[in-house]
Amino acid sequence: MATNPMHQFEVHRIGPEIKLAGIDLSFTNASLFMFFSAAAICAILFLGTKEKKLIPDKFQLIAEMFYNFIAKMISDTAGSKAKPYFPFIFSLFMFVLFCNMLGMLPYSFTVTSHIIVTLLMAIFIFIAVTIIGFLKHGFGYLKLFVPSGVPLILLPLITVIEIISYLSRPVSLSVRLFANMMAGHTMLKVFGGFVISLGMLGGWLPLGFSVALTGLEILVAFLQAYVFAILTCIYLNDALNLHH
């Protein structure tokens, strides 16, 4: 069973079964690793902001780097109007990043390799951005679906295409993160399996691949968290500053 590359994605219950109104609310290994990442984020930020030194120590440096990184990203992509949404985007980025990074540890579980987790976050962002857009612009937000300078005959077609394009946002946002994490972890496991099955004679080549892939996966883990956050900023920018 241990050589099955998909075995690592199995969700299993920890502790007693909890059922509430027919819905299974048991504590699983997925919930455990979500809790771990939330706890790690809180610990790092708490340690980083405990003593506000002029010359920062390691934890304070990490916390300040994260803060600056996200603040700069928001102001670059969505402008100063998006400042009030900083806490949301910051927690989103940190949660995805820590889930991805904790998933890189051996024997751990990658929460973001399950599409239901990423889809839930993406749908939440999608609905929130749509509500913000309607609140800021009223029905003028619908102008997003009607690009300017289109001939009247083509307008119904273009509008349908634009609506599909808009609806595809949460899908592309969630599938990207989920597919990258799942494919990467499956590949790591497959190459790990090759090392065992080829033994001392031929196992060195896949071992080298495994090491290289681990490096690549750490890059992907960071990059996907970054892409997730920056796309949220871009969608927020569309809702806040209507260009059409």
Binding site: I164, S168, S172, R176, V227, I230
Partner: protein
Amino acid sequence: MTDQKNFKTRLKIAKDKLKNNSIITNNNENSSFIGGAFKLGTELVSAVLVGTIIGFILDTWFDTKPWLIILFFFLGSAAGILNVIKVAKKMQKKD
């Protein structure tokens, strides 16, 4: 009074320094390009997927199998290409 003046000039110098620094750091923004490259692929696929799903739902609704799913598949493909063009334009604007 002289202290305050001194502080104001120092603040101005520091702010100018910060401005210069931010221009320098803007130039070596490599990570956003890799991020953009990762984006393109799924943009195309997801729109086709969403278009097909909408077609499927409308088909079962109006009982017109299989015409709407075919229509919305092509509309979804068009939306996917539109998505890619939008992302590519955004990437070009950064240069």
